[in-house]
């Protein structure tokens, strides 16, 4: 009886180990909350982008040139220069800021990347293919009041070599956004967001 029970326990243990090892090998996916914070390492990720966008959108909407204007001013985005040590597509930051401000109605935008396409399309319309009454009127585009531009910077430092069990590295990001008055050339608003993170990794591994 005892032998029988021991055998059953052994079989159960083998099955449990097998199940555990199979579960360990299986690929899994899970949905992440895009509004939450997820960091696998110290490099730039979507959580950082969201934080930068939230802070700077709110600040820009509350800025004097935007908040005190009788009608929503028009801006053109000249992009965010990437001054970090990572290949980051910074257009994601300006796209999200633009989307949020368009939704709130605080700013209006003209699209710089679409300028060539606008010209091409107008040329096509005036080439004789489009009925005259349906052609866009030339010389009616709106002009921008402000230029939106910015810079994303980073500083990364490793802990100096010494006897220790973990190696540490911190990375600091600073994102500055600016609003320049197109007529006067005056810098009328600027704000920045700072983020810093430390990564600690074991030096001894198997």
């Amino acid at each position: 009886m005892t032998d029988h029970r021991t055998g059953a326990v052994q079989r159960l243990a083998v099955v449990a180990l097998l199940a555990l090892s199979l579960a360990g090998c299986a690929a899994t996916t899970r949905q992440l909350d895009t509004e939450g914070t997820t960091n696998y390492d110290d490099t730039y990720g979507f959580s950082d982008k969201n934080e930068i966008v939230d802070v700077l959108t709110e600040s820009l909407a509350a800025s004097r040139p935007v908040a005190s204007a009788s009608a929503a001013p028009i801006a053109v985005i000249y992009g965010v220069a990437n001054r970090t040590s990572e290949h980051i597509d910074t257009s994601g930051i300006t796209d999200d800021i633009r989307n949020a401000l368009l939704r709130s109605g605080d700013l209006r935008f003209v699209s710089r990347p679409q300028r060539d396409n606008l010209t091409l399309e107008a040329d096509y319309q005036y080439a004789g293919f489009v009925a005259p009454e349906q052609r866009v009127a030339e010389g009616r585009q709106v002009g921008a009041d402000y230029i939106v531009s910015g810079t994303l910077r980073s500083i990364s430092k490793r802990q100096p070599s010494q006897w220790r069990l973990n190696k540490k590295r911190y990375t600091y990001y600073s994102m500055t956004l600016e609003l320049t008055d197109l007529e006067s050339g005056e810098l009328v608003w600027a704000d920045s967001v700072e983020l810093a993170r430390e990564l600690s990794q074991p030096i001894l591994r198997w």
Binding site: A81, R83, S85, E86, H87, K167, P202, W206
Partner: protein, 439 residues
């Protein structure tokens, strides 16, 4: 010989043979890829690296070789991808892997995953900078420039001879509107080059913009030595443009294995760079623009010199590991001899054979990188570039120089001589190529 030890013989012999087989040879695919590249077939080389069997311990070597082969043959996006993976792997391997080190203690350093010499870690960034410049992506190049600064900061002494990379990254940072950072790097390049006039000419404007008057004075003094005024022609006048020319020539020297016999049956094998005669010769670059010789002041780095300094910086680490290995092997040999003198002899003989220097390295790199910047009148020009005494030359029939802009020209030495690196796509796989239709 006792019966017990007789029974252990086959097991011990098998284990040692497995260690030999597993520990030493470089992955065949890498050797073949290098051969294909040197024979003028980079696509075959890249195909071999993509499909051939690469031992995990040689993966970094394969990625670096693939990265340079793709770069030199114009497959820039492939090169960027491979070298990005190489940089990630270097980062991942920046730890002590206990199990692996245990194996290396009995076999050789070749049994461990290759982590790249300090110089190779820097050159991953150098080639990436060049990749982005070939694509006209100065901002992408500036990201790699900042990464290169981190490598320089970490291994400062070992890498100080690489004036080319330091100057290039400073030039890139200046171009993207960071004169402050550029001025710091130029100052280091100027110092490390021993006050080279060519570096001073490039550095002066960044120092002025960054508000470093002391540096400006230093550079002016250096420029006074330039009687022909060649270096001053770096700065474009209003309405002119400029040419940034980068030439990769020759071949980086190979690591060799040296042996030190500490007993008749014990040796230490170590990697070293021999003092090749060609390492002492700066490969002369000559330019002819629209039929007229163009005076230049090139800024060059011999990669062999940097590689040697980089290996020397690791010398203490190598010696410590070799000593530990000798002690471990001797200990095992003595233990085996106690069991059975014949077994001891066999173990010692096998350990003697297993002792092999880790001579793995990035071998497709050039022997020298040279940077030349010249202000040129706007318009289209015919430029002839020749390198070395063997008359390797390339003619660029339609070099376009735009006002206020810098045209980048990257040349590399290959089996067919000097060639301009221009972006191209990978060839379509054989199965999807349009085949000829029979009538």
């Amino acid at each position: 010989m006792t019966g017990t030890s007789m029974r252990r013989w086959p097991g011990i012999a098998l284990a040692l043979i497995a260690l030999i087989a597993g520990g030493c040879a470089t992955s065949g695919a890498i050797v073949q890829a290098r051969g294909d590249f040197r024979a003028g077939d980079p696509d075959a080389a890249l195909a071999v690296l993509a499909t051939g069997r690469i031992a995990e311990r040689d993966r970094l070597v394969a990625l670096m070789e693939g990265g340079f082969i793709a770069h030199a043959s114009g497959r820039i996006h492939d090169s960027i991808r491979l070298l990005r993976d190489a940089a990630r792997l270097v980062d991942e391997l920046d730890a002590v892997f206990v199990g692996e080190q245990g194996g290396a203690l009995l076999v050789s350093d070749r049994a461990t995953r290759y982590r790249g010499e300090y110089a190779e870690r820097l050159w991953i960034r150098t080639v990436q900078m060049l990749n982005h410049l070939v694509l006209g992506d100065w901002e992408g190049a500036s990201v790699e420039a900042r990464q290169a600064i981190e490598v320089f900061d970490r291994y400062a002494e070992a890498l100080q001879a690489d004036v080319f990379t330091r100057t290039l990254l400073a030039r890139v940072l200046h171009a993207v509107g960071e004169p402050g950072a550029a001025a710091i790097e130029y100052a280091l390049a100027f110092e490390q080059s021993g006050g080279q006039v060519g570096v001073a000419a490039l550095a002066r404007s960044a120092a002025r913009e960054a508000g470093r008057p002391d540096d400006v004075v230093r550079y002016d003094k250096a420029l006074e030595r330039d009687a022909r005024g060649v270096a001053r022609q770096v700065q474009a006048r209003t309405g002119d443009g400029s040419l940034l020319l980068i030439v990769a020539s020759g071949q980086v020297p190979r690591k060799r294995a040296g042996n030190l016999f500490i007993a008749p049956d014990a040796r230490i094998s170590f990697p070293y760079y021999p003092n090749f005669p060609d390492m002492a010769i700066i490969d002369g670059i000559r330019l002819v623009l629209d039929g007229e010789p163009l005076p230049i002041d090139p800024i060059g780095t011999r990669l062999g010199q940097v590689a040697e300094a980089s290996l020397a910086a690791r010398a203490r680490q190598v010696v410590t590991r070799q000593t530990l290995r000798v002690v471990a092997k001797q200990g095992l040999g003595v233990a085996a001899s106690r069991e059975d003198p014949a077994l001891g002899l066999l173990v010692n003989a096998l350990f003697f054979l297993l002792e092999e220097a880790d001579t793995r390295s990035w071998r497709t790199l050039p022997g020298q990188w040279t940077l030349i910047e010249r202000a040129l009148p706007t318009g289209r020009h015919r430029l002839e570039v020749s390198a070395g005494s063997s008359g390797r030359r390339v003619v660029i029939e339609d070099l376009r120089i735009d006002a206020g802009a810098t045209s980048v020209l990257v040349l590399a030495d290959g089996p067919e001589g000097l060639q301009r690196i221009t972006p191209r796509a990978a060839p379509a796989p054989a199965a999807t190529r349009v085949s000829e239709v029979s009538p």
